[in-house]
Assembly symmetry: C2
Homo-oligomer: 465 residues x 2
Amino acid sequence: MFPKVNPMTLENVLSRIDAEMPAATDRLLDLLRIQSISTDPAYKAECDRAADWLVADLASIGVQAAKRATPGHPMVVGHVDGDGPHVLFYGHYDVQPVDPLDLWDNDPFDPQIEETPNGAVIRGRGSSDDKGQLMTFVEACRAWKAEHGSLPCKITFFFEGEEESGSPSLVPFMEENAEELKSDIALICDTGLFQSKTPAIITSLRGLLGEEITIKAANKDLHSGMFGGVAMNPIRVLTKIIAGLHDESGRVTVPGFYDGVPELPEDLAAQWQALAFDHAAFLGDVDLSVPAGEQDRTPLEMIWSRPTCEVNGITGGYTGEGFKTVLPAQASAKISFRLVGDQDPHKIRENFRAYVESCLPADCTVDYKGHGNSRGSVMATDHPAFEQARVALSDEWPEAAAFAGCGGSIPIAGHFKKILGTDAMLIGFAKDDDQIHSPNEKYDVESFHKGIRSWARILDAMTRA
Amino acid sequence: MFPKVNPMTLENVLSRIDAEMPAATDRLLDLLRIQSISTDPAYKAECDRAADWLVADLASIGVQAAKRATPGHPMVVGHVDGDGPHVLFYGHYDVQPVDPLDLWDNDPFDPQIEETPNGAVIRGRGSSDDKGQLMTFVEACRAWKAEHGSLPCKITFFFEGEEESGSPSLVPFMEENAEELKSDIALICDTGLFQSKTPAIITSLRGLLGEEITIKAANKDLHSGMFGGVAMNPIRVLTKIIAGLHDESGRVTVPGFYDGVPELPEDLAAQWQALAFDHAAFLGDVDLSVPAGEQDRTPLEMIWSRPTCEVNGITGGYTGEGFKTVLPAQASAKISFRLVGDQDPHKIRENFRAYVESCLPADCTVDYKGHGNSRGSVMATDHPAFEQARVALSDEWPEAAAFAGCGGSIPIAGHFKKILGTDAMLIGFAKDDDQIHSPNEKYDVESFHKGIRSWARILDAMTRA
């Protein structure tokens, strides 16, 4: 499809990557020392400093990059011209807050290489999410450039600084700079391996709809000695509403909820079957044993391809030490829906709210607060890059690469498709135990090393094609 | 039944009460200035000071009283000999904490007389619960003594200092001093009027059983992107358990729950009917309109004579601002049962816990924490003191006294019966809007004044009989 532009062998690039690992690691540690917590305004200058660091680092491999202002933290955008396909690479340089700080064994911004029974790890905030992953691609390009004198194809680097705080500037920026950001394929490195030796190419992402409901009854908290038995208790109403959200078989009961949910294509079902996912081990790690979702679905389907309804928080009445015989004036819950296929978050929100109202007894009212919504995404696995990447990854790792679903919600993939018309391919090297968003976050040195090598192989495969 | 011991007229005593109101009020204000918060160890010396104050005040009307040590705050016990029935009077000198302090219009321990559209009130912590009520009886005795030279009959004064912190020393003290505390009838002043012009004699109290349950699933909080759909969510389990506690008609579903619940005797039912309880106004005051309990019961039955199950608190997952897609490791609720008649709290606790276990799916466990239990009480309304008090109260107040149930739980009445074999009669003058346990607690000057006069009339009626 694209002309062959790299006459020299891939082996040289891979050897250089191996040889340069100490320097590449030092660069990553340098980036990890920048405290780019995007959600806390106190770290605004640090986010800026991370963007500057990236601009300079891209310049060092010949990429003309610039810090681009947004109402929030800056984007970094860099371009390099070339033959062959136009590839955009996305990652984010901002990180999660570090509290509770006392649960860290070391300063989260003084990253260390640590030997562990499972191999060496890079410990520090952002090592896995997402600075380490972002740098796998940059380091692959650096080695390529050193061997070949140029990058393998036309590449756009696109780094965000607000991913951990809801990406408020992302969609407007993409819309305003659509022409500049359009490419043949967007590569996103913010996901994980399927298993520790098995790389994964994400075939679908779930969308996310958040709703907060507050049920109100009396105009103040009441004493249950005086009113108990005659006054409506909003906790009773709220628990009835929540208890009715699933039927006995684990299906969500919101009317029309399954409209637009596709059946798993047979070929994908066969591939997933072949993955021999060890759900006993997956659940056993957190002391569970029985899959709790729809009883006629496999555990992998439950996580990857089926929609869910979960209560993420509930509160009402007295929740401190001891006991207080209060009848509370209100009770509330935060409820989220993971969405797949063509499920329409707006329609589901509407139907959910209608269901809630249908459960309200006399004297009760409800307040709603929407907490964002995004649709599920299905990747264009028939795009040739997917098969090229699958072969390339299978060459690098001990186990063949898997086409895998992802239960999480990464809205950017949908944005690339909707705003730019560009298909996205998500490949990442994080492990389940990386403790992202938690104390003692780490990234395996193996993830970093093989991640860099993987991108070199993928670029090679895409540009050789 | 008892010899007539008071040849002088009741009218003299009542006139003296009227004339002495300024001095009686000053004494109450003095007692209210003592910060006798029993639950907070920081106020131990203040509780002691309140006990001393009462010992001295009783001495001033010729009662030999003493502070009696307990493992907690002291009791005050005083005796005066006399002819006729032996009456014990119970009240408590301790008060609730005052937080949130910023919701008080004045210092809670700098009590003030305040004019309001509904008449003058005594504002301050403990004014209604229970120092003001306690002093109605003491002031009635003072006026009687001043007019007659002696008290009307043999009286035991029994004041507690731990009522607001669960009365840990009460039962042991009563058991150790049973012979000393036995009497013909125990008078308790810690309840309210039926309506602002209608005094009430309590005919029954509900018992109280408290249970806290914590449902546990995974061994840590999980991310709903990774585990949502396959991992059991303990909030889902908890809400199912709670939603199943009532059926559609409002009945509690715990097996055997209604064992021992008596039907309302016909005569009492007729009396309650005659009270013409305005449930629309009662509920309307707190913006409710429809009685929420068992649909085949009257609102007064729901509050006074029927058992209940209420959730007083629930918590699980993320309850702060915004949203977090967490699958919590646990969720918990505080649940209380108000009990009547012969309902056995131990049996109900056992059956409730068996019900909870029957709802637990695989991988879930439950922790229980019991929060006390007491049985319901039915007063001995055939004791002659009840009819004597009813007539006496009806003479004092604009409306005839009501035999009324009480939805609250005042375990002391049961203790008098069980430990001492003494029937108790609960009469009090608090109003619904007294804000007990809350900021800006008050006691109407009318409650205080007519309360004192009521006790003078009741003592007169009991000793003239």
